[in-house]
Subunit: 259 residues, 2 copies
Amino acid sequence: MKNKLSVVKIGGNVIEDENALDTFLTAFSKIEGLKILVHGGGKLATQLATKLGIESNMVDGRRITDAETVDVITMVYGGLANKKIVAQLQAKNINAIGLSGADGNSIQAHKRPVKEIDYGFVGDIEGVNPELISNLLSINLTPIFCALSHDGAGQLLNTNADTIASEIAIGMASTYETTLYYCFEKKGVLMDVADDNSVVKHINTATYQKLLSDNIIADGMLPKLHNCFHALNNTVSKVCLGDVTMLDKNTELFTTIKL
Amino acid sequence: MKNKLSVVKIGGNVIEDENALDTFLTAFSKIEGLKILVHGGGKLATQLATKLGIESNMVDGRRITDAETVDVITMVYGGLANKKIVAQLQAKNINAIGLSGADGNSIQAHKRPVKEIDYGFVGDIEGVNPELISNLLSINLTPIFCALSHDGAGQLLNTNADTIASEIAIGMASTYETTLYYCFEKKGVLMDVADDNSVVKHINTATYQKLLSDNIIADGMLPKLHNCFHALNNTVSKVCLGDVTMLDKNTELFTTIKL
C-alpha cells in the first residue's frame, strides 16, 4: 500500500489576511500524514510593486513579468510570504522547509515563448523533481513551495501556483496515494455563483462535461478545473475544492472530483 | 576519518555586485567536497527600505530592526539574494537549497533582550540543527543560508551572518573536519590597512594576543576575529580570511588561523 500524501494549494486571499492565514495554517498543520503546501502571494506583490513605482500589467488575469517584476515576486513569494508561512508552521510543530523551484532543482521550467503576448519571465513547467521531494518528506520535512520555477540557466520564473500544485501532485502520484486540495475563498464549485451553499459535491468526467456545456464552470474556474482533470488523468487519486473548513473535516460542503 | 566540510561566509559587497557575485559563485562551485554558503544582503536591504520610505537606523554598525525592517530583510535576504544565488548555483551544476533559520528549524534563536539599546527583531543564536544540515548534505544538497534565524514562536529574526557562519561551523565540527572561510573584500588580516598586500598569513592564539595589543586588529575586524577564535575553541579545525582568490587556491595571500 502506498503512503498517503496531501498536496494543498492555498489561495492568494488567505495569504493577504493574517487571521485567515493563521486559521489556514492551523488546519493545514492538523492534516494527518505527509503533506506539501503550494502558495503564491496574492495582491502583496502588486502592493509592493506599486510602492516601488513599478507598474503591474495584467493580461487575462496573468501578470506580465518584466525583470523588475520578477525581482518583486521573488521578494514577496520566495521571501516574505514563504518565510512567514515556514516560521508560523514551525510554531505549530510542523517541520516546514520553504522552496522555490530553483531550490534542490525542484521545479524545472522554460520561459514562455512569445506569441501574441510577451509574458516576460513566466515559466511553463517541464517537470518536477519527485526524488528530491520524496527525500525531504523522508527526513520528516514538510515542503512549502512558492510560485517560482527556474530555467536551469540561472533565471527564476513566475509560475502559476495552481499549475505548480497539480504538477507536484502528478510527480508524486507514482510513489504516494496523492490527493490534491485547492483551498480558496469559495466552498467549492457552485451551481449558482450568487449562492455560496450551492456546492456541487461530486464531479466526474461525465458530469464535468455537462457542467461545462451548461456554463456552470466558467471564467476563473475553467483553468482550475482543467488543472484538476489534468492531475486526475495523470494518476492523482482525487482532487478536492473548497474553503479552509474542507481541511478541518468539519464540513462535507466541498467539491470532490474523481474520474 | 571525518569527511571535509567547507563553511563559506560571503561579504555584503559581493552580493551587491552582479559580476563579483558570479566570480564568487564560480569559485564556490569549484570547492571540492561538502560545502555550505552563508550570506547577508549588504546594502540591498537599505536600498529597498529607502525606496519604501522606511528609515534605516544603525547603531555601531548594527541595524535596528523594527517590524517593517524585518519584513524588508526577509524579502531581500530570504527572497531576492537567496533565490538568485540558488538559481545561479543550479546553473553551475551545484544542487543548492536556500534556507532561513526557520526552514527545517535550522537556526534557533531568541530576540535580543533590551538593555541600553532596543535592537528590535534581532536574533541571538541558541543553536543550529546539525542533524538537519547533515541530512541535506547526505542527499547531495548544498545549503545556502541567509542571515535570518527564528524564535520558534513564528517570528523571524535578523541575525549577523558572520555569527551564523561560525555557529554552523561549530555545529558541524563534531561530524565533519570543518574549515570556516570568511570571504570579503580584503586579502586577509592586514598589518597595514593602507597596504592590501600586507597580509598576516598565519595567526595562532599567541600571535592573536600580540596583534590585539598592537592594535593591528581593530574596528570591524575585532568581532570577526572573535568569531574565528570562538569557532576554533569549539572544535572547528581552521579558519581562513581572504578575498575570492582564496577559494580558487590561486593565491597563498590569505590569512589562516589555527589555535
